[in-house]
Symmetry: C2
Subunit: 336 residues, 2 copies
């Protein structure tokens, strides 16, 4: 584990190469890598560094990259360091990523103060969630002030990102999106800030109208306990001209300050951590259980029978539970 030690030192010193290697390690599915990744994360957790975690969601075409570039460069100009992590589990069959190209944020890509990491190319939603949570932890340990987690605006991936960030921002297009209004309800309930992008030129007026519509809709949702007046909030921005970007940042900063003051940010992080533990614990225990002597063979045999169509899935589960009963149905013997 000397290697892990070196990697941890590099990450804590903010070294870019160590950071990249650390994230590659946590993205690996190989068991020996997993073990090292866990050891690394344990070491990094000791530093107790924390960044503001911002989730950014937006459908393709809304101008997410342009927004992140302009918003990010403004933070860099203020002397902050930021990481951008992408989450894109939208193409489960091919594993193809529609995000992930560093060249779509050329300024940030060149900046020493910014770190961009594309979405891993093939993983389940659960795998992406784990990788992203752990990548956030690594970036925090590396001393970034801001960690932005971006995702395409489709269902579960947004919930996932909202569940691992402090502030959740939804980027919208002027006018459009009426067809998805029904779907957007769940997302509006998670959003702290709705930003109507492209508020420039001919679209400026439509953007303002869209903002007013969303602001009206937001009134239907209860303010989160402890949040200042006016949140969740709808604003117009133009990533192209920069209009409204400063105000958007101010809105994020003010909300975060209020939540830190009230303890809401810490409470939210604890709740997220607990949810994360529950998911991880289940996965780890199942893996352990599947390797348990005696049970392993029974599990495999039942699976084979289900795969062959000799047993329904339900009957298989019943059989498995019956076979498991002798393993943990009563008190284990005293340890030798």
């Amino acid at each position: 584990m000397a290697e892990v030690e070196t990697l941890a030192t590099g990450v804590l010193a903010g070294e870019r190469r160590a950071l990249s290697r650390a994230i590659t390690l946590i993205e690996s599915a190989r068991p020996e890598h997993r073990e090292r990744a866990r050891a690394l994360l344990d070491q990094l957790a000791g530093a107790e560094r924390s960044a503001l975690r911002i989730g950014i969601s937006g459908a393709p075409g809304v101008g997410k990259s342009t927004f992140l570039e302009a918003f990010g460069l403004a933070r860099v100009a203020e002397g902050q360091r930021l990481a951008v992590l992408a989450v894109d589990p939208s193409s489960p069959v091919s594993g193809g990523s529609i995000l992930g190209d560093k060249t779509r944020m050329p300024g940030l890509g060149r900046s020493e103060a910014a770190f961009i990491r594309p979405s891993p190319s093939s993983a389940t939603l659960g795998g992406v969630a784990r990788r992203t949570r752990e990548a956030i932890a690594v970036c925090e340990a590396a001393g970034f002030d801001l960690v932005m987690v971006e995702t395409v605006g489709v269902g579960q991936s947004e919930i996932m990102v909202a569940d691992m960030t402090d502030i959740f921002v939804v980027l919208l297009s002027p006018g459009g999106g009426d067809e998805l209004q029904g779907v957007k309800r769940g997302i509006m309930e998670m959003a702290d800030l709705l930003l109507i992008n492209k508020a420039d030129g001919a679209l400026a007026e439509i953007a303002e109208r869209t903002r007013a519509e969303y602001a009206g809709a937001l009134h239907l949702f209860r303010r989160r306990a402890g949040d200042p007046e006016g949140y969740p909030m709808a604003r117009t921005v133009s990533a192209q001209t920069g209009a409204g970007l400063g105000e958007a940042w101010e809105a994020i900063r003010a909300l975060d300050a209020a939540r830190r003051e009230s303890g809401a940010r810490a409470a939210r992080r604890r709740a997220q951590s607990l949810a994360w533990f529950d998911a991880e614990a289940d996965g780890a225990m199942i893996a352990r259980l599947k390797a348990a002597p005696g049970l392993e063979a029974a599990w495999r045999d039942i699976r084979t029978a289900v795969a062959a169509g000799e047993m329904t899935a339900g009957a298989g589960v019943d059989a498995l539970l019956a076979s498991a009963a002798q393993h943990f149905g009563r008190k284990p013997p005293d340890a030798p």
Copy 2:
């Protein structure tokens, strides 16, 4: 379990009330209901009845209800019986359902040969998946010829529906949807049939152009092994005028016939059953494990520490695994 017996008899006789009650039972999360639901499903599985399972996906506004109504009534007119099950996990926070209203398919709603069941109003994606799989099994036992499973066009829910049906149909609007093209890639790879709806009046020409575009895109994907020439296929339909609906049904029927002949349908069902067993088995084992004497208290204590922020989620998992080691790390004692 006499009650389960009665319910099973009713379902097998195709009684509507028994069918409704059976699905209500499987939707319940109460442990004693779960147990009865499992017993019911075991009994029903014995009948070995099977329906053609068709998944239908489409974004809000694409005309899904109108399509289902027209398509379904045509099947009823041919003497078939069909069930329509809705899957809508799109609003996880409020649990509100945008599908689910029987009145949106008034003809089917009145028909003796049709059964419509809205999406359960509050459940996780996993809960919805289980309920829908089990509801399909109940409908098959009740003797329906067709089970249609409809879902809104958003990410994970489509994957879920494709994973539990024989044929997966995607309904699209003419022209629109360019913005979602990137997202649609994964869905196109799952689709057996793309139907461009609203191919009537002023939109007929645009619908045909859209069809040609999608047909071109479909060429990029490999045909599924054993599928006849021409699949996956793009066609235009008008749920309003009925144009193309007969051809769409013919395309579905021909594909299903070919897959039954080649054994591909049976193979697909076995693979689905296995995936389902894997998911269910994990859940059942975790529930069992959490109640195991000795482990239960340790698990609870660790959870409390994580919730209080005294332990990171990762450290909690490590602690849990250590505590579990004595429970299933070595051979269990011989049964008394």
